[in-house]
Symmetry: C2
Subunit: 151 residues, 2 copies
């Protein structure tokens, strides 16, 4: 067993951090806007997409989940009017998930509180340089992936 293995510890800490942050943010996010973290990321992808819409396959790839999960997640969002179903005139197989006007305002509000939670998270003991560095390093993973939110 290696004495010092930065790659190993970095990976472990990444998983631990994600699990911790998920457990920490989910309750507040759900109680404030009625959205699970997954749903926020779902809507965030749509808000960044051209025409505010995405095919279900692409959404699945961007969220690293299965197509069946997208189908199920879209249903309640449609029922609450945040999202609507659209057809593609060129290809009858695809069913776009499109952000509605109310969906846009809702995700804007949720994104605002999410940003506030993010800044609060780094308030204690993090310099601006630290945060930028962490974002940059993690960006090496996400840059490869489809749907990187670079703003």
């Amino acid at each position: 067993m290696p004495k010092d293995d930065p790659a190993f510890s970095a990976l472990l800490r990444l998983f631990r951090s994600a699990a911790w942050l998920d457990a920490r943010f989910s309750p507040e996010l759900g109680s404030v806007h009625g959205l699970a973290l997954n749903e926020l990321l779902f809507l965030l992808q749509l808000s960044r997409a051209p025409l505010q819409r995405l095919r279900r396959v692409d959404l699945a790839n961007r969220l690293h989940t299965s197509q069946s999960t997208i189908t199920r997640m879209a249903l309640p969002l449609e029922k609450s009017g945040l999202v609507k179903r659209e057809a593609d005139p060129r290809d009858a197989r695809v069913a776009y998930v499109t952000l509605t006007r109310t969906g846009r305002t809702r995700i804007a509000e949720a994104e605002a509180t999410f940003r506030r939670m993010a800044t609060d998270l780094f308030r204690a003991g993090w310099s601006d340089r630290d945060i930028a560095q962490l974002s940059s390093l993690l960006g090496r993973f996400t840059a490869i992936l489809p749907g990187d939110i670079t703003e």
Copy 2:
């Protein structure tokens, strides 16, 4: 909407990275050692604990999951002999989860392949300094938490 918000993008990228790495590592890990990623982290915690054992509550806190999940996860691991149940003579409420001898060898093997996957992950375009920096920055989150694997 802020033009540049490093805290926001860092948090988003952290979640995206974790989801991607989970999807990437789980299949290989499962096929090679018959262990899910959660089970690997489960056993890893035990292997680092004094006497190779932990109370179920502590295990739940370290893995950021519920007690009922620990109860259910322990069952198949007991059946395959990687883990056994132990009582505390001082407190009849606790039921330790203890790593068995076969469990020790199994987690050692799985940890080895996990380390190899970790180094492979950073092979392209990452300097040793980058990896150490990422590990250090993420360590600020995990250092607060119980069960930090610092080796």
